[in-house]
């Protein structure tokens, strides 16, 4: 939460973004039978019969039933990591573990937000931590301000081209090495 997910979808979407906010205080309400899930939805229309659908899914574990849905449906993911949080590198590593398959398909880019507030760790440190666990993974990792439409479009295009180039060259690259 606070990584900029809602902001990111708003920066990209061409339609009015549908957003629901989770109420933090609800966690203290003992008898409540349901929990609100913070969720965002936006679209980019490519043609009459083709659009890019974007879902903002919260990162907290208690919402991991949403991740399961995402894993079967999503083509790719921009993983927004709040660099001002407690341990952003550990957070990234946990997601990479969970979305391993998507990562190996080239379907994950990491956007490090709030880096102007918290410059450390650097993207190089993120990359080195990832390389220790998955030395054969080359994941695009970059600082990103979700408030910037320009940067969000860049992130989305990077994700798509990374997926497509993996599809084209990934197998051959494994043979080559």
């Amino acid at each position: 939460m606070g990584a900029g997910m809602t902001t990111a979808i708003k920066a990209l979407s061409e339609i009015e973004v549908v957003s629901t906010e989770a109420n933090n205080s609800e966690r203290d309400v003992v008898d409540k039978p349901t929990t609100t899930v913070a969720l965002d939805y936006g679209e980019i229309v490519l043609s009459n019969d083709e659009k890019i659908r974007m879902y903002g899914i919260p990162g907290q574990r208690r919402f991991d039933f949403m991740w399961a849905i995402l894993k079967t449906r999503a083509e790719g993911m921009v993983l927004l990591v709040n660099n001002d949080a407690e341990n952003p590198i550990a957070e990234m590593l946990a997601f990479v573990e969970d979305f391993r398959e998507l990562c190996y398909k080239g379907g994950v880019v990491v956007g490090v937000s709030r880096s102007e507030i918290a410059p450390q760790p650097t993207t190089g440190e993120f990359a080195r931590a990832l390389a220790e666990v998955h030395p054969e993974l080359t994941v695009p990792i970059f600082t990103l301000d979700p408030r910037s439409k320009d940067q969000m479009q860049m992130a989305l295009l990077t994700l798509i081209v990374n997926l497509e180039m993996r599809e084209t060259f990934g197998e051959a690259g494994v043979q080559q090495a």
Partner: protein, 219 residues
């Protein structure tokens, strides 16, 4: 400061590249040499019409009054001096300054104008092992596409250009920058990457999603 331009270790090895020098070639070569040996050096670069540029290699930082985006591609009268930082010597300027990576990206992409940097050898193939932080570097989508290609296998600059549909000069520039940033694996004996032709049916899919979205967003 000692003038190192006369020092033999910093001379470019390829006479070809000297001919291509736009003023930045020698400087970039010197910077690469210092990075190669991880020497605790200080570097002062003077470009006519600009305040001096200072690099403190111990801290991976630089300062310059000129905006990097204005970097004169053809700089006349570029001179530089290197000095060894004595143990415990204070930083050359007030830290943090700017990340040296910012300078390396711009110099790598511009110093050799579409030719291989003199410290790289024809015949080598390169593979990306870590992405540069594109959030901090001005870049074109063609460069992103080349990076995505390079993340999957070893390519020569010419092979990279073909794979990404980019001019070979741009492939050389990017390889130079990534090499300067220490983000490449280098191999002299890996075989060319063989891509099986697309299965029929996939062929008439038309432009890729990347190409279509790029056009749609006007980028």
């Amino acid at each position: 400061m000692r003038d190192s331009r006369r020092g033999s270790t910093l001379e470019p090895t390829s006479p070809d590249s000297a001919a291509q020098d736009n003023g930045w070639g020698q400087v970039t070569f010197a910077i690469n040499s210092i990075l190669q040996i991880a020497a605790p050096m200080l570097l002062r670069i003077d470009v006519e019409g600009h305040d001096p540029l200072f690099i403190d290699f111990r801290h991976g930082a630089f300062v310059w009054a000129t905006d990097l985006n204005e970097l004169p591609v053809d700089a006349t009268n570029v001179t530089f001096e290197t000095e060894q930082a004595l143990e415990g010597a204070p930083p050359l300027f007030r830290l943090p300054g700017y990340s040296l990576d910012l300078l390396l990206w711009v110099l790598g992409n511009n110093a050799y104008r579409g030719h291989l940097a003199p410290w790289l050898r024809p015949g080598e193939r390169y593979r990306l092992y870590q992405w540069p932080n594109l959030g901090q570097h001005l870049h074109e989508m063609t460069q992103t596409q080349m990076l995505a290609v390079l993340g999957n296998g070893y390519f020569s600059p010419a092979e990279l250009a073909v794979a990404a549909g980019a001019p070979v000069e741009e492939a050389y520039n990017l390889i130079n920058a990534l090499s300067l940033l220490r983000l490449l694996r280098v191999s002299e004996d890996v075989a060319p990457l063989v891509v099986p032709s697309a299965p029929t049916g996939q062929k008439d899919k038309g432009a890729s999603l990347f190409a279509r979205l790029r056009a749609r967003l006007g980028r």
